[in-house]
């Protein structure tokens, strides 16, 4: 009887994933559009964490965010304000949002607005800043703040106006295309960025900004291969959120890291987080940096793997190994092993080299524990100290403890309901 209930619930959860209709609606402002934002609310990646327990890169991004918002004029003032308790820190996931790496979202930031038209829910994400010295990797120097201001005053408004002219964009089809063009949707976003430019350029040129501003916007998107990441992430977020509270489902609907802890949420267990210390990443480091410099795993971007792309789709993105390490055979093996721990396959995101097989979709905590195979995640690596930025990229897995604790809580829940 229990098995039947679980099977039915997991089937419903998988159907919700595959029938999602993520759609780009426009660009808004975090304060105005993200539910529950206030002028003193700062969102961050991963499960909730206090200032005291925040990792270096997350602290760096908070410091940068406070300077960007004009709430502090320097590092010292920013730290005092963060310690004062005056700022509300909360997980992006509690506000229908996701953020790559430190994932800090502050009230003035422009955000992509996405809607899952199959279920009516929304998701939000900031605009990608590029690689290297950027806020999301914990850097907060003058160039970082200047870029954030440019994003707020130029990039955001131009894209907002272009999208108003373009109308809604079907992102499910676009992500399906990019998976077939060699992107994994997490650390390889060349195809996605290119398709987005192709989609928006005709409308960008029609906006009422100077040619110089429009050219700067197009150049910024063109030189940032990760620009589309901040679209795939909310695509996945709005795809997975409808799974919350599917009674008896053992599928994972959130995986996220705050740089201190890794957190997992399971459909049948509502919004409860199962956390454990995040792991250090095995990867390729930029010249001059080693694993000693690395912060623990950080960011909401593994919402892509939760949805069945990212590391789960690496078989279709062999070139990604030049960025995260390993060989194309490893990439193929990672995808094949993920079929062992998932409920089914995507009906839309398909890998040509696997005879157009759908990507492994719907991580089942039962299968993770039974097989001992943990989800594979490809990811960027932030320096452990605030203010430095990105130092590499690599591969990582969630701690098994998150899945073990979730399974125990799940069995306890069934016991309390008298189902044994």
């Amino acid at each position: 009887m229990i098995q039947e209930k679980i099977s039915k619930a997991n089937n419903e959860a998988l159907n919700k994933i595959v029938s999602a209709q993520p759609t780009l609606m426009g660009i808004g402002k975090a304060l105005d559009d993200i539910p529950g934002m206030t002028e003193k609310t700062f969102l961050h990646a991963g499960p909730p964490v206090t200032w005291e327990n925040m990792s270096g890169p997350l602290r760096g991004a908070i410091i940068g965010g406070l300077i960007y918002e004009g709430l502090a004029s320097n590092e010292e003032d920013a730290i005092k304000l963060a310690e004062s308790g005056e700022i509300t820190f909360d997980s992006c996931h509690h506000h229908n949002a996701v953020g790559p790496m430190a994932g800090v979202v502050t009230p003035s930031m422009p955000v992509w607005i996405l809607k899952n038209k199959a279920f009516g829910n929304y998701a939000y994400c900031t605009l990608n800043e590029g690689l290297g010295k950027v806020l999301r990797y914990g850097a907060y120097s003058e160039e970082v703040i200047e870029r954030l201001n440019w994003i707020q005053n130029s990039l955001g408004p131009v894209l907002r106006d272009a999208l108003t002219l373009a109308g809604e964009i079907d992102l499910k089809t676009m992500v399906a295309q990019v998976i077939q063009m060699g992107d994994d949707g997490h650390n390889r976003n060349k195809a996605g960025t290119s398709l987005l430019i192709r989609e928006l350029a005709p409308y960008i040129v029609k906006t009422n900004y100077t040619d110089e501003v429009k050219s700067e916007v197009l150049k910024f998107m063109h030189k940032n291969d990760h620009f589309f990441l901040n679209i795939t992430m909310p695509v996945c977020k709005c795809t997975m959120d409808p799974l919350e509270d599917i009674k008896y489902s053992t599928l994972v609907y959130t995986m996220a890291r705050n740089g201190t802890e890794f957190g997992v949420r399971v459909a049948g267990l509502g919004n409860r987080w199962f956390t454990a210390p995040a792991e250090v990443i095995d990867g390729l480091y930029f010249p001059g940096y080693t694993m000693e410099d690395a912060n623990r795993d950080i960011g909401d971007s593994c919402i892509t793997e939760t949805t069945g792309i990212g590391g789960f789709a690496m078989a279709g993105a062999p070139a990604i190994v030049q960025f995260v390490g390993g060989t194309p055979s490893d990439a193929l093996n990672y995808t094949m092993s993920m079929y062992e721990i998932t409920e089914g396959e995507s009906g839309s995101y398909k890998i040509p080299s696997l005879d157009f097989r759908g990507t492994p979709t719907g991580i089942d905590i039962q299968k993770v524990i039974d097989t001992g195979i943990r989800p594979i995640i490809n990811t960027g690596i932030a320096h452990k100290n605030p203010g430095v930025g990105q130092v590499g990229a690599g591969l990582v897995r969630p701690p098994m403890k998150c899945f073990e604790d979730a399974l125990e809580a799940y069995v306890n829940m069934l016991e309390e309901e008298g189902l044994f």
């Binding site: 229990i2 098995q3 679980i6 053992t250 039962q366 524990i369 039974d370 097989t371 001992g372 073990e404 399974l407 125990e408 069995v411 069934l414 044994f420």
Partner: protein, 56 residues
């Protein structure tokens, strides 16, 4: 004993489960062998195996 001797006098095909080194040693000796990547349920974690069994 006779049956075992009989077995080893024939060409044998081996399915190896568990330690992969047994398989690689056989392959080096040109014995037909395949390796099954098998682990005990829940990696041998009794508590987890017991929790899983309650859901079956």
């Amino acid at each position: 004993m006779n049956k075992i001797n009989e077995l080893f006098n024939k060409e044998i095909s081996v399915i190896n489960m568990g330690l992969e080194s047994f398989y690689t040693d056989l392959k080096k000796q040109d014995v037909k062998a395949i390796h099954v990547d098998w682990r005990p349920p829940a990696g041998g974690n009794k508590k987890m195996a017991s929790l899983l069994s309650r859901l079956k």
